[in-house]
């Protein structure tokens, strides 16, 4: 597994596992994922703006900001008034027997959208995060014209309607990732 964007040493096992743990926490905590993605998409933003836009309680906002800072993926600019923050776009490359798998902030975005997109929430409840990652992969392939949504559902191993529903919902995630290319790198 290799690390990108945050470490200069390509064979840094500590860095690799640290990134894995960061990703695991983001993928398992939708509200944290939502905060991370919001900041990523808005470049440098005031903490108070984040609180208002995401409608988060004061304590929760600062708790999550603190968490991302501990993970070493958020920088706080205290010299600014009001204090602003920005985050690093992290990605993981996993070498698997089936080839290279790239895990990008787009998956974190998809996880965050459980909070406001019923179709994604239902899919994750039924199928889990790993399947959501696969669905995101196939959504890109459908968008690229490689295969139809029904064929993608077949490959995902889910009912056609379930597949079409989640792929339709993930089109927005993939669309955002394409628009924000510099921050949300695209998958294979």
């Amino acid at each position: 597994m290799s690390v990108d964007n945050r470490r200069t040493n390509a064979t840094n096992p500590e860095g690799s596992v640290a990134d894995l743990l960061i990703y695991a926490e983001l993928l398992n905590t939708p509200k944290l994922a939502q905060l991370y993605i919001y900041i990523l998409q808005h470049d440098t933003v005031a903490i108070e703006t984040i609180k208002d836009e995401l409608d988060l309680p004061h304590a929760t906002t600062y708790k999550y900001i603190g968490k991302l800072e501990e993970m070493d993926i958020l920088t706080r600019h205290k010299e600014e008034t009001p204090t602003t923050v920005n985050v690093t776009p992290i990605q993981l490359t996993l070498d698997t027997p089936h080839g290279e798998v790239l895990v990008t902030p787009a998956l974190v975005d998809a996880v965050a959208r459980q909070l406001d997109t019923e179709d994604i929430r239902v899919f994750v409840e039924r199928q889990g995060i790993a399947k959501l990652a696969a669905a995101l992969h196939y959504t890109r392939r459908v968008r690229d014209g490689d295969l139809t949504q029904r064929t993608a559902a077949e490959k995902l191993g889910v009912h056609a309607i379930e597949g079409i529903t989640v792929i339709t919902a993930l089109q927005d995630v993939v669309g955002t990732a394409t628009a924000d290319d510099s921050m949300l790198a695209s998958d294979e």
Binding site: R141, V142, L147, T148, T151, I161, T168
Partner: protein, 182 residues
């Protein structure tokens, strides 16, 4: 695609992917679509095969089936049985399957081309040969769009039919609605 309209008094063959993209009856896209088909007297048809697939989906997706029912109850959508007794209809379906396989990438096998994707061509062909109305097929896959259009043209009903990307059509409808209200 911008400015694409459904002709008056025409038939629109809808895939479930477009119905799903619309959202429920309370959403802007659903209501905009309902408005335009009722204003322009467009008869919306969903192949029985496609409706059956919705009907057989996991219980969690009952809300998707409810959208279909809502449209049927509102009177602008009906199911369309496929006339397999017409060999040309079966031919349209077969040719679509082959064309979709051709257009898909190498790791897609023939048994992964779903029948439900291909029946849309058959239904569109059925209506087109009646020559009473224009037929628009609404899908939301580039492969489906290309394959269905290719086959309908090859079977000489290209003039009577059009195949459009349903999600773009819905976005376009919303933009037009927004423009009108400004």
């Amino acid at each position: 695609m911008v400015g694409m309209e459904l002709p008056r008094d025409s038939i629109a063959v809808l895939d479930s992917s477009v119905l799903i993209a619309m959202g429920g009856p309370s959403t802007d896209k659903y209501q905009a679509f309902e408005r335009v088909v009722m204003q322009r007297d467009v008869s919306v048809r969903i192949p029985t095969h496609v409706a059956d697939e919705l009907g057989e989906s996991p219980k969690t997706y009952t809300y998707q089936r409810d959208r279909l029912r809502a449209a049927q109850d509102a009177g602008w959508l009906d199911q369309a049985p496929i006339d397999f007794s017409n060999p040309r209809v079966s031919e349209a379906i077969d040719r679509t399957r082959k064309r979709m396989l051709n257009l898909s990438v190498d790791d897609v096998t023939e048994d992964e081309i779903e029948k439900t994707d291909t029946v849309l061509t058959g239904v569109a062909y059925q209506y087109a040969i009646e020559q009473t109305s224009h037929v628009t097929v609404l899908v939301s896959d580039t492969i489906a769009e290309q394959a269905i259009d290719d086959v309908l043209c090859a079977m000489d009903v290209g003039n009577e039919t059009a195949v459009i990307e349903g999600r773009e059509f819905l976005e376009d409808l919303l933009d037009k609605d927004f423009e009108k209200r400004r």
